[in-house]
């Protein structure tokens, strides 16, 4: 899993597993994770906070995709999906919502899905706070980390969950 494949995987092959690198400091992401975990899926989903060493082990190039901006998902054969396509892939994994994923992936709907996902990702902390969704962790990011500043958790309030 940690080895980088030398050949480009077949994009039409259904994945065997899906790694979801989510933001542990976002209550909305946590809610989405709980919801996805409650769904019956065609293949297993693995949730890993993007800022953990485990995520780096699974995907050494993770930081190049800037997972702090928009959610990143990776298949077992190292295909990367980000933003709206990652959401489509998560829905595609579920038994109940696969037809919706196929509809959303149509050229007429995908641009709207991308815009909505972008807006939600950009305002996820605000939305979490509005919906009173508590994140699983609100740990402080290292100051030299590229995501520092992208998150509204300031160093003074970083130890308490977002309200």
């Amino acid at each position: 899993m940690t080895n980088t494949p030398t050949t480009i995987p077949n994009p039409n092959a259904p994945p065997k597993t899906l790694h979801i690198f989510y933001d542990p400091q976002c209550g909305l992401c946590q809610k989405c994770r709980t919801w996805l975990e409650s769904q019956a899926t065609f293949f297993p989903l693995h949730f890993t906070p993007w800022d953990t060493p485990e995520a780096r082990t699974l995907c050494p190039k993770l930081d190049t995709f800037e997972p702090w901006k928009e959610i990143v998902v990776m298949t077992d054969d190292h295909r990367i999906y980000q933003g709206a396509t990652s959401w489509v892939m998560c829905l595609y994994a579920t038994v109940k919502f696969r037809p919706l994923a196929l509809k959303l992936a149509q050229p007429a709907l995908l641009p709207f899905a991308k815009q909505i996902c972008h807006l939600v990702s950009k305002n996820r902390y605000r939305l979490s706070s509005l919906l009173n969704l508590t994140p699983e962790s609100a740990t402080q990011l290292p100051h030299d980390h590229p995501a520092f500043g992208a998150c509204p958790v300031s160093p003074e309030t970083s130890t308490s969950p977002l309200k």
């Binding site: 980088t4 494949p5 480009i8 995987p9 994009p11 039409n12 092959a13 259904p14 994945p15 065609f42 995907c59 050494p60 190039k61 993770l62 995709f65 990776m74 298949t75 190292h78 295909r79 990367i80 999906y81 980000q82 933003g83 396509t85 990652s86 489509v88 892939m89 595609y92 696969r98 037809p99 994923a101 196929l102 959303l104 992936a105 995908l110």
Partner: protein
């Protein structure tokens, strides 16, 4: 034998024959859908096909027998044909509705089975 009994004697064999004909058509042509649904598992497809046909027979024959009673006894040969055609017309419509419902079921099962093997609907953003 009065005209009412003659109507019954004509109604029942025609309705039953129509039910058998539609059921046999469903059984014969629905099999290929079910084999596709169950990924070539012909035993399972045949079993489901048989169960569906049994359900079809029960519902339709139940309806045909319940619908047997005539409102007013026919007074002449013309009235026998009128009664018979109205009864058989309703039976044919019910058979048609049941037939389309079965096709709908076959198609739904087939689509659900195909969904499992759908490739990812979006291309990857990148490769890690």
């Amino acid at each position: 034998m009065n005209l009412t009994v003659i109507t019954y004697c004509l109604y029942l064999p025609i309705s039953i024959a129509l039910t058998v004909w539609v059921a046999k058509t469903l059984h014969k042509n629905g099999r290929i859908f079910l084999v596709d649904c169950f990924h070539g598992n012909t035993d399972l497809a045949d079993s489901v096909n048989h169960l569906l046909v049994v359900g079809f027979y029960l519902i339709n024959l139940g309806f045909v027998t319940l619908f047997l009673k005539l409102g007013l006894p026919p007074i002449n040969a013309g009235a026998v044909f009128e009664e018979l055609s109205s009864k058989l017309g309703v039976v044919l419509l019910v058979l048609g509705a049941m037939h389309f419902f079965n096709i709908f079921l076959f198609n739904k099962m087939r689509k659900r089975a195909q969904l499992r093997h759908e490739p990812p609907p979006v291309p990857p953003t990148a490769h890690a």
